[in-house]
């Protein structure tokens, strides 16, 4: 479903990603681990087209999308949520989801009717609001809801585009343990045919949802395998999991 071939990016003398090759099957849930500065978010930015790689290819559903801009890849079914909330703060929760759903259903450019009143948009908003548990807040301004709800909405806006592949950059960033557990249920309830690529620092969540774990260190893939193998990997413990294991 999503493949990278030797994806590389440097900023000056610093190699942020080095020959990263990944292959995600349809419906696979892969978590990317790695210490701060390992190149995880830069990898995401290259996948969605926000940063152009120096070398390598990105293939989505069999199509080479390396030359496509962000919106072109989004139209083909690649969606993302951000580590820092990237919402439409001046709008309500329903309008946030409605904007994304309007794009999905091709109403984003019409001048004849209110896109938010269309049946298909309404259905998508309702479905996604239930998926990400924001239904009680539909009327609320985004700036008025709690941080946790905004994190859920962040994922909801990405989901409302009905993606084939959803990239989530630290969905539980900044939320407490209780909310983090809620995210576990949320992720498990997502359709099984949706391919997920998640950057996550919450190890419990990462090991609970992942089919596969990839570890980046200094921009390189240093581990690629099952969660069980990851738990047993000495290399992983050395570079990343020591603190987690001790705890």
């Amino acid at each position: 479903m999503l493949e990278t071939r030797n994806l590389s990016k440097s900023f000056g003398a610093i190699n942020v990603t080095r020959d990263v090759s990944l292959k995600l099957e349809r419906g696979e849930r892969r978590v990317i681990l790695g210490p701060n500065g390992a190149g995880k978010t830069t990898l995401f930015n290259q996948l969605v087209g926000e940063i152009r790689p120096d070398k390598g290819r990105v293939v989505l559903a069999g199509e080479d999308v390396t030359a496509l801009p962000v919106q072109g890849r989004a139209k083909l079914g690649l969606s993302r949520s951000y580590q820092k909330n990237t919402l439409f703060d001046g709008l309500t929760v329903e309008e946030n989801l409605g904007l994304a759903a309007s794009v999905t259903h091709g109403h984003w450019h019409n001048i004849r009717y209110d896109s938010l009143t269309r049946r298909d948009v309404r259905d998508t908003v309702r479905e996604v609001a239930e998926q990400v548990r924001v239904m009680p807040y539909l009327h609320a301004q985004v700036s008025d809801v709690s941080y946790g709800v905004r994190r859920q909405l962040e994922v909801g806006v990405a989901l409302a585009t009905r993606p084939l592949v959803l990239l989530m950059d630290e969905p539980t960033s900044g939320v407490g343990p209780e909310m983090s557990a809620g995210f576990h249920d949320l992720l498990n309830d997502l359709p099984r045919d949706l391919t997920l690529l998640i950057i996550e620092h919450d190890m419990d969540l990462a090991f609970a949802v992942a089919d596969t774990i990839t570890v980046l260190n200094y921009g390189e893939v240093v581990f690629d395998g099952s969660p069980e193998d990851a738990r047993d990997s000495k290399l992983l413990k050395d570079i990343y999991l020591g603190a987690w294991e001790d705890a």
Binding site: K75, L91, D114, R126, V157
Partner: protein, 340 residues
């Protein structure tokens, strides 16, 4: 995002009633003032569409209005086209030019967008001023008004012209609010709030900006074609950047991003101009002081101040919250509202 509110409906009704009353009962000067306000209001609605809902603060809308006026004058006086055709032609040509300006400038932001639009405006001003075909400093005179005698309207009558200008203003208000609530307008608002996210959702950002700028330019051109008919004369001064600056002042004075606010701004601005200039040449000074007071009040212009004080009337009318209402109805039908 544009929302109809009770306050907006009431304000619109009050303005319409007052305008009709003035157009019916006023003497010559009062009727001319109504026409002047209507034309300025059309221009500032056009500007508010892009500045208030897309963050595209344009300093070329005066030039777009001037382009519409010149296009109408050229097509009627020089090309001999029938005025209705010339009106449509002026709107179409200026709309196309505006689309191009939006497509180019839409790739920049903030101060760079402002400067880019100013550059386009000044290029248009220079072209009209320097090229003999446009009449240079003398402009073009003898611009005819549209003949509507077939439906019993004589536009050479100032009162009738005022009513037609008000009708055009009403149509423009409806069109602007309609477009802003349609997919294009909502996408533009999304871009203003978070351009990066809209792109990530799959929206072609520059296309949205260019299309809305094109529509806005068409409305500005309609204001220009009306202005040309009103005074039956066009001159390069119409395209001067100060016209764009004044339009921006009017939008901020009335309330950016409200559509009805700029109409109020146009009324206040024109009335101040006529009333204060009767006593002093420094009427701009008075407008400036009022503008500073409005900006310092932290309200969004005069209409924003009204909204703050009449907050109950400023809530969106219930019909607007379509999705949430529908969702609640559907859930209630399923008996699962409590679960939600």
């Amino acid at each position: 995002m544009f929302r109809h509110t009770s306050l907006r409906f009431w304000t619109l009704g009050l303005i319409a009633a007052l305008a009709i009353w003035r157009a019916l009962t006023a003497e010559y000067f009062g009727v001319e003032t109504v026409t002047e306000i209507a034309i300025l209001a059309i221009l500032v609605i056009a500007l508010d569409m892009v500045a208030g809902f897309g963050g595209m603060v344009s300093l070329c809308h005066g030039a777009l209005m001037g382009a519409g006026a010149y296009a109408y004058a050229m097509l009627t006086v020089k090309a001999g086209l029938a005025p209705p055709m010339a009106f449509a032609g002026a709107v179409a040509v200026t709309g196309a030019a505006s689309w191009l300006i939006g497509a180019v400038c839409g790739r920049s932001h903030g101060i760079y967008f402002i400067m880019a639009t100013l550059a386009f405006g000044q290029m248009a001003y220079s072209l009209v001023f320097e090229q003999p075909i446009f009449g240079g400093d003398d402009g073009i005179s003898g611009v005819p008004r549209i003949d509507l005698t077939i439906i019993g309207l004589d536009l050479n009558d100032g009162r009738t012209f005022a009513f037609v200008s008000l009708a055009v203003l009403g149509a423009v208000y409806w069109f602007a609010t309609h477009v802003l609530q349609a997919g294009l307008g909502r996408s533009l608002t999304g871009i203003m709030h978070n351009e990066q996210r809209m792109r990530a959702l799959g929206v072609n950002v520059w296309r949205i900006k260019a299309d809305m700028f094109g529509l806005s330019g068409m409305i500005a051109a309609a204001a220009g074609a009306l202005a040309a008919q009103h005074v039956m004369f066009v001159s390069p001064g119409l395209l001067n950047w100060t016209v764009s600056g004044e339009a921006l002042v009017v939008v901020i004075l009335g309330g950016l991003g409200t559509i009805i606010g700029p109409v109020i701004g146009a009324i206040v601005f024109v009335l101040l101009k006529h009333e204060v200039s009767a006593h002093t040449d420094y009427w701009h000074l008075v407008v400036g002081l009022i503008l500073i007071a409005v900006v310092m009040s932290r309200a969004n212009g005069i209409f924003g101040w009204l909204e703050q004080r009449l907050s109950r009337l400023a809530r969106p009318v219930p019909a607007r919250d379509v999705i949430a209402n529908q969702v609640r109805k559907d859930l209630a039908a399923k008996g699962s509202l409590e679960d939600a």
